[in-house]
């Protein structure tokens, strides 16, 4: 192929990918709208439609991610454009897995759809989708393991946050046999704890593998870089959450607040740090992730 033909081919493939990404974003938007209707009407069939909306979306989103990987011939989580898509997909897939275990409850899907849609919109509106090969800093054996572990933990924390909010807002009163959005009782709430318990070792691995990677790349396992420090803040807040779950009087509202705070810290680690770095003009070693 001539260079011109390669250029045209790559532009064509990227065009298809962008259309697919817009379509996936639209599907998240539709799921989110169904969620709003469900919130207003509380009809179980609309709740089921919300879950089906997310199931259909995850299929197309999986195709999108595979397509992107095929285009770049590398794992598709190199820059913020790609990781936003990856984040949305992981959150949705994790939610659908968890939801399959509690079946009758659909309302957390509304929050997950909203977060996934926001991530996708941020990606396509604000980031550049052009595919580039891995820069030298990312060519490391730690790369895939570090990113996958981090995003798996993020996805799990998104779902835990959604469940926590739903519990706080829609918990079924003990005198009622069935709440308006299904059985949102203490048993359902235990999922918040289980999810964090599942995500926490992966977050730990992400922090330690990041340190090991930094040691290979820069000779320093820890630089107190804003991204590193925020990951430590997130880790500490979730550690507080897990400890509070074993302290009698802190099991309920204080633990819920810590779970929500953990989610906010996670978003700060993932996205907010970039904003913070720009705002305060702090030099960051993680500029490739911006």
């Amino acid at each position: 192929m001539t260079p011109e033909e390669i250029l045209l081919r790559d532009a064509f493939l990227l065009g298809i990918e962008l259309k697919l990404f817009w379509f996936v974003t639209l599907l998240y938007g539709i799921s989110f709208l169904i969620g709003i209707v469900y919130l207003i009407s509380s009809k179980p069939e609309i709740g089921r439609a919300l879950t089906w909306g997310l199931r259909i979306t995850v299929v197309f989103h999986t195709v999108l991610i595979i397509f992107r990987g095929f285009e770049g011939m590398r794992p598709p989580f190199q820059n913020l454009y790609e990781t936003l898509s990856w984040f949305a997909w992981f959150a949705n897939a994790t939610y659908l897995y968890a939801q399959s275990r509690w079946r009758e409850v659909h309302i957390p899907g509304f929050i997950v759809a909203g977060i996934a849609m926001a991530a996708c919109l941020y990606g396509i509106f604000s980031r550049n989708p052009v595919i580039s090969p891995l820069p030298p800093a990312l060519q490391s054996p730690w790369y895939e393991a570090h990113v996958i572990a981090a995003f798996l933990s993020y996805a799990v924390f998104v779902v835990s946050f959604a469940v926590e909010l739903c519990y706080l807002k829609f918990k079924t009163p003990p005198e009622e046999p069935h709440g308006i959005f299904g059985y949102i009782d203490n048993e359902f709430r235990r999922w918040t704890h289980r999810l964090v318990l599942f995500g926490f070792p992966f977050l730990t691995f992400a922090v330690f593998s990041g340190a090991a990677w930094a040691n290979d790349a820069w000779g320093r396992y820890w630089s107190w870089d804003p991204k590193e420090t925020w990951s430590l803040i997130t880790w500490t807040v979730y550690a507080m959450y897990l400890h509070s779950k074993t302290v009698g009087r802190w099991k309920d509202m204080p633990a819920s607040l810590l779970n929500i705070l953990g989610f906010i810290c996670m978003i700060m680690t993932f996205l907010g740090v970039n904003w913070l770095v720009k705002l305060f003009g702090i030099p960051s070693l993680h500029t490739y992730a911006v």
């Binding site: 065009g15 290979d216 320093r220 804003p226 803040i233």
Partner: protein
């Protein structure tokens, strides 16, 4: 009183909260900056920043105190739990409570114990009761309280490792140009420990020959990838138009751009004992020998320009002046080395760079004057520029960090402990037999613990 305070989980949560606040402060205030520079840059809350050492928060007395308190809390908690785990065996339920427990299950007693053993349970303890049947306890999986204990030991090791690093580690850089050997030493006076010794009026160890290594650059290699260049619109509506197929995505008329693929340094190392090693390293692939580890950190490019007949030694990306011309000039990164093209072929890049002009009244502006290739000339701003020669130096860093092995070990402890504790499965079965029935109470921990599966297996004939 103090013991009770430090062995409490509530205390742990409060300390972790205090740590989080310190971390947060560390992401807001520029770490490592000089207080005078901070004031000059218009920094706020100066008295507070100065008093609490916010510009070096992670070595500030406040942070060290909180870390110390956390370590004490961890050690006392570990000691306290250790005592409980060792001396006070986990209490076994009595028969009446077992039988009346809301979660108790009934099984046929025939071959029940055999089935337990078949599915991997091991016998732990049996209680004796003069009136009621005794309770037998079986367990499967690693006891979660020991795992929890194990990863908390890991956290203490990590804190210790961080502390050793903070006190004794140092990092330096060396810029290597071909044929110009550079000496480096694995000893530095500039560690916090030495600073401390100096403050206390004590002697600091002198540098010795056995710490010295000599590095000579053989070759510095740069490689680039060819990258698709597309004029992707910035406007949201224009992006939407592409998304819904109203407009087509087209390649930029500029074609491809270059993206760094790899920086590789080939060099030799003369060790303190005289042995010479031939080595190479690249980004993410340090070179290690003995206590010395070298890392590829960057490079320096110097271009020899002839401007209006005068030789200028310009460093890429660093502004320079030309006599008699207003403003300054700057060269972009020099592209040199091998280009890996999209069609799978490679080609040698003719050394090329971009010349920019920086107007006097707008020092942030970079006005492109043109690309200039080795041996070529361009005329700009009434000046004739000729690209005569260039050289590339490799910037390596080296570090000695005696805390790293502790942190690595801690990472292993914490990760393994947490992983098995959270994701593994632990079961405890307490049961008693009365006539033909086995009354069974199952407790479990861990995400993978599945009581229903155990019950199914126990019911299997």
């Amino acid at each position: 009183m103090l013991y009770k305070f430090f062995s409490s989980l509530k205390t742990s949560v409060y300390i972790l909260a205090a740590m989080s606040i310190m971390f947060l402060i560390g992401t807001i205030f520029p770490q490592g900056e000089n207080i005078e520079d901070y004031i000059e840059a218009g920094g706020k809350y100066v008295p507070l920043v100065r008093a609490l050492d916010f510009l070096d928060i992670f070595m500030s007395p406040l942070f060290l105190v909180i870390t110390f308190v956390l370590t004490v809390n961890l050690i006392i908690c570990l000691y306290d739990r250790f005592k409980i785990f060792i001396k006070i065996k986990r209490r076994v339920i009595d028969f009446e409570r077992l039988k009346g427990h809301p979660n108790v299950l009934s099984f046929d007693k025939a071959a029940f114990e055999k089935r337990l053993k078949t599915i991997g349970f091991t016998f732990k303890i049996q209680t004796d009761d003069a009136v009621n049947p005794g309770i037998k306890v079986y367990e499967k999986g690693i006891q979660y309280w020991w795992l929890s204990w194990f990863y908390h030991v890991g956290i203490i090791l990590a804190i210790l490792g961080f502390f050793v690093t903070a006190l004794f580690a140092f990092e330096k850089g060396v810029l290597l140009f071909p044929g110009k050997p550079e000496s480096i030493s694995l000893y530095s006076k500039e560690t916090r420990w030495n600073e401390f010794l100096e403050k206390m009026g004590m002697d600091i160890p002198e540098e010795q020959v056995r710490d010295e290594y000599v590095l000579t650059l053989e070759e510095f290699v740069t490689e680039y990838n060819q990258v698709l260049k597309i004029d992707y619109p910035k406007g949201k509506l224009e992006r939407l138009a592409i998304g819904i197929g109203m407009t087509k995505l087209v390649p930029s008329p500029k074609g491809f751009s270059y993206m760094p693929k790899m920086w590789l340094t080939r060099f030799n190392v003369k060790k303190p004992d005289g042995e010479v090693l031939y080595a190479k390293l690249w980004v993410n692939r340090p070179f290690r020998t003995g206590y010395l580890t070298l890392y590829q950190m960057g490079y320096e490019q110097r271009v020899e320009l002839l401007a209006n007949g005068k030789v200028i030694d310009a460093e890429a990306r660093v502004p320079f002046e030309v006599e008699g011309v207003n403003g300054k000039f700057v060269l972009g990164s020099l592209k040199v080395g091998t280009l890996f093209k999209k069609d799978g072929t490679t080609e040698k890049i003719d050394p090329v760079t971009t010349l920019y002009h920086i107007p006097e009244d707008d020092p942030k502006a970079r006005n492109v004057l043109g690309e200039i290739t080795l041996g070529d000339k361009i005329d700009a701003k009434d000046t004739a520029f000729e690209f005569r020669d260039y050289k590339e130096g490799s910037y390596l860093s080296y570090r000695k960090d005696p805390g790293i092995w502790l942190v690595g070990l801690a990472g292993l402890f914490v990760f393994l402990g947490l992983f098995v504790r959270s994701l593994g499965a632990w079961y405890r079965i307490q049961y008693a037999v009365e006539s033909k029935t086995a009354y069974v109470l199952i407790s479990s921990r861990g995400i993978l613990a599945d009581k229903d599966r155990i019950i199914k297996k126990l019911k299997k004939k």
